[in-house]
């Protein structure tokens, strides 16, 4: 048997009040795509940060190709041949691709040489990328390629990828996977972190599952079902949301030529959107991030005002109305960004309940806040949506992402909306919380409310929506029944691989 590329032995890292990793041991073989699975808070980030030299373990050792490996900082890890592509990109919008890559180098060669090497690497691995384009104009998938190429220029032995597909269209995912397979064929190993189990089954050769900081199992994802893997992650059998048949209700929302200017420089303008949504249905809206999702939510919630008759709600023109006036009519929204948009991080859950529920739950009397009633409402949300927190007096910041998301979605659902608009309802949320949120959306629709669910997770949209539409550069495609849509059709609706030829891949 060959020496493993990277051997982890008994890695332990404790933070005050929580053990992030406990006695984590596993091996990564050369030429292997190794999946790291786990719910949010299972300790995946801490583990990869340890490997990348950002975190120093309290105990345990690592060996890279048989030699002791204890990087004090990321630079040392990179020198040893470990590269990492983060979930959030660190690129400068105003610079071109080659300049961005040069910024990450110790001794950057001249621009022309970098450009040539970028072209070489992108040809070799089937990653279409023009080194002279300005990063600010690139799609999320292209930006990710910049990060990947930046890593590949270092000839890594091990490439760590954190949730790489969350921002990609299916076609872009196909390109990425082809690249990763070529990298594997060249003998490199890849540590691949993802929530998307079907992807892992399609791509990875081995998988290690973490739960509460410990390794709870390993499996061969090619022969293990997604459901089995999910249950390993959660530690119990998984509740799968079920869709009840619903009669078609009357029209609740009509958008007529909805257009709005981009609210800021890197925003997206909405262009001529037509749409009708009926009571009792869930409309799924897919699209790659930055194609107008935030703006569409804002135009519906009232944060962006438009011409009066562009938005018709229950027969009334409401395009000019402010958020609270729309809430009174029954149009509620939950934006994507939990911290700082849907909720104020440093305020208590009671105050955060007041944030959107003041109008509909009658939480004020002549302008004076009825704190008792607000506390009660917050407590009801916490109880009904199984939000794990000591109490409504705790700050939103103290909650984990999944718990805060349950609170934010629950806060709107408990207000009994006629139409609920949610953006990325399960982003960064662990599997069991995500299932609970999806079930709550389905239940809401079953009770006769309409739901618009905007998401980048296509599996999620296919699971819960009745009809599906796609946002691309601020335009909305005509909705189609979700049942029977193929991945290729969806990909085309999403705008393909953003003008880059897929043809490169088949070489």
């Amino acid at each position: 048997m060959t020496t493993p590329l990277l051997r982890l032995r008994g890695l332990t890292k404790a933070y005050p009040g929580v053990v992030a990793n406990q006695d984590v041991s596993f091996d990564i073989q050369p030429g292997e795509i190794h999946a790291l699975l786990g719910e949010n808070g299972a300790g995946k980030s801490t583990l990869v940060k340890t490997i990348y030299g950002l975190v120093k373990p309290d105990a345990g050792q690592m060996e890279l190709q048989g030699a002791v490996f204890a990087p004090a900082e990321p630079r040392a890890a990179r020198m040893a041949g470990v590269a990492m592509v983060f979930q959030h990109f660190s690129l400068f919008d105003a610079m071109n691709v080659a300049e961005n890559i040069a910024l990450g180098m110790e001794n950057p060669p001249p621009q022309r040489e970098i450009a040539a090497r970028v072209r070489l690497v992108s040809d070799q691995y089937g990653l279409p990328l023009d080194p002279l384009r300005i990063v600010g104009e690139l799609s999320a998938g292209e930006r990710q390629r910049v990060e990947i190429v930046r890593c590949l220029l270092q000839d890594p032995k091990l490439l760590i990828m954190d949730e790489p597909t969350s921002v990609l269209t299916p076609q872009e995912v196909a390109i990425l996977f082809e690249t990763l397979r070529r990298l594997r064929a060249a003998g490199a190993a890849i540590l691949y972190i993802s929530h998307k189990l079907e992807e892992i089954r399609a791509l990875c050769d081995a998988a290690t599952v973490l739960r509460l900081g410990r390794v709870v199992g390993s499996c061969d994802p090619r022969t293990t079902s997604a459901r089995e893997m999910a249950e390993l992650m959660v530690g119990s059998s998984l509740h799968v949301p079920h869709k009840a048949a619903r009669p078609e209700g009357e029209v609740i929302l009509t958008l007529q030529g909805l257009s709005a200017k981009a609210p800021h420089r890197f925003g997206t303008a909405l262009r001529d959107i037509d749409l009708t949504v009926r009571r009792g249905e869930i409309l799924g809206i897919g699209g790659v991030a930055g194609n107008g999702q935030d703006e569409l939510v804002a135009a519906l919630s009232g944060e962006i005002r438009t011409r009066r008759d562009m938005v018709l709600f229950d027969g009334k023109s409401i395009g000019h109305l402010a958020p609270n006036a729309r809430r009174r009519l029954g149009l509620l929204a939950a934006p994507e960004e939990r911290m700082g948009h849907a909720a104020a991080p440093d305020m208590s859950l009671t105050e955060n309940a007041l944030l959107t529920a003041a109008a509909r739950q009658d939480l004020t009397a002549r302008g004076f806040v009825r704190w008792g009633k607000a506390r009660e409402f917050a407590a009801n949300v916490i109880a009904a949506f199984d939000v794990r927190t000591p109490g409504a007096g705790n700050t939103a910041r103290s909650l984990s992402g999944g718990n805060l998301q349950k609170f934010v979605i629950g806060r709107e659902i408990m207000q009994d909306p006629a139409l609920l608009v949610v953006n990325q309802p399960t982003w960064g949320v662990d599997a069991s919380a995500a299932a609970a949120i999806r079930q709550a959306l389905l239940d809401l629709a079953a009770k006769g409310a309409a739901v618009i669910c905007i998401s980048q997770d296509l599996d999620e949209l296919m699971e819960i929506s009745d009809r599906f539409a796609a946002l691309n550069a601020g335009r909305l495609s005509a909705p189609r029944p979700a049942q029977g849509l193929s991945v290729e059709q969806i990909g085309l609706m999403l705008g393909g691989a953003h003008d880059m030829e897929v043809a490169h891949v088949d070489a």
Partner: protein, 359 residues
């Protein structure tokens, strides 16, 4: 090795204990400073912090404390709304001057008529003057996106020039044979803000207390206060909650401008008595320190203004009795703010001593 670790929620204990610790540290370092200047440190500290309140001459100093603290409280309460919402009105000094000019002008226009309606009219004019001056940076920010810090600060200098021209021109006392300065409003019964001069009690003190109560109730009980806090902490969440950001800027500027204008009016119609070239004494700037010293909390501001007034009065006593240089008093006041901000770290972070160093 010492490490700082962010708390998940601000510590309740340190929220209250930090200002006290800051005062104690200021006293200790101040004492060291005074000792280095060759003064008896204990006597100096006692002179500054104790004598104004409890010495044999405190009958004279206590009213002075009220007179100093009242405008500080009024202005700082107004500023605290804006500061909580992320609206930085640095030009309260100018709004204070305009309040004094407008209020005094109304009073002087009626001279020498006696009527119970004159003073209320002056109060309204004072508030309006401060309000109008604050609306300039407010409107420019909302309409054109200018920086209210710069505009409001620059308007202080405009206000000072206006004050000089008023003292020399339109509002000059016609009976003063050419000397600059207006008639003394404190000697005009219908226009004076004094209630009891020997006790240091004037209408500004009453309004300051009302402002504290009003601000406390608004910030803790009213949805407007909630929106102010929300806007400061998470502007996007505030917009989502239905706050109109432009309107909020204008309201916050209006509150701080009107209260600063009131402070100016009460000062000119009482303790100062007349519009003079150097009428303003920096209350508008000191109030910024008071607002932060008091944690932007109404009760905290009340205490902080008292403390600031104490260092002013005590500092004056120390200057005259102990020949302490005026700059030393300013250093002491600076230390107070410095230590408060430094100790503030404890509210949001906990200190951990780690046994072994991390390489």
């Amino acid at each position: 090795m010492i490490r700082l670790e962010k708390r998940t929620a601000p510590s309740r204990f340190w929220t209250y204990a930090a200002p006290l610790l800051a005062v104690v540290l200021t006293m200790v370092c101040g004492a060291l400073l005074f000792a280095a200047l060759g003064k008896d440190p204990f006597e100096t500290i006692r002179t500054i912090f104790w004598d104004p309140l409890f010495s044999e001459f405190s009958w004279y100093y206590r009213p002075q404390l009220l007179i100093k603290a009242a405008p500080l409280v009024l202005i700082a309460i107004g500023l605290s709304f804006g500061f909580r919402a992320g609206v930085w009105n640095i030009g309260a000094e100018g709004q204070y001057i305009l309040g004094a000019i407008c209020g005094a002008a109304v009073g002087l226009a009626f001279y020498p008529t006696e009527s119970p309606f004159i003073f209320p009219l002056m109060v309204m004019a004072g508030a309006l003057g401060g309000w109008a001056w604050a609306m300039i940076p407010g409107f420019l920010r909302v309409r054109f996106g200018t920086n209210e810090i710069l505009v409001s600060l620059m308007l202080v200098y405009v206000a000072q020039s206006l004050l000089a021209s008023m003292a020399l021109g339109a509002l000059r006392n016609p009976d003063a044979s050419g000397f600059p300065g207006s008639r003394n409003l404190a000697r005009y019964p219908s226009a004076t803000s004094w209630i009891n001069e020997s006790a240091g009690l004037h209408w500004g003190v009453v309004f300051a207390l009302i402002a504290v109560i009003f601000a406390y109730i608004t910030l803790s009980r009213h949805i407007f206060g909630f929106h102010v806090r929300l806007s400061g902490q998470s502007p996007r969440a505030a917009r989502f909650a239905g706050v109109n950001p432009g309107l909020l800027v204008l309201i916050c500027m209006a509150i701080s401008g009107a209260l600063a204008g009131l402070a100016g009016l009460f000062e000119v119609a009482g303790p100062s008595g007349l519009i003079s070239i150097d009428f303003n004494a920096g209350y508008g700037f000191t109030a910024i320190i008071v607002a932060f010293l008091g944690r932007l909390h109404p009760v905290g501001i009340l205490l902080a203004a008292g403390l600031m007034a104490l260092t002013y009065i005590g500092g004056e006593i120390a200057q005259s009795n102990l020949r302490l240089p005026a700059a030393a008093i300013q250093v002491l006041q600076g230390m107070l703010l410095f230590f408060l901000l430094a100790v503030d770290v404890l509210t949001h972070y906990r200190i951990r001593l780690t046994a072994r160093g991390v390489a």
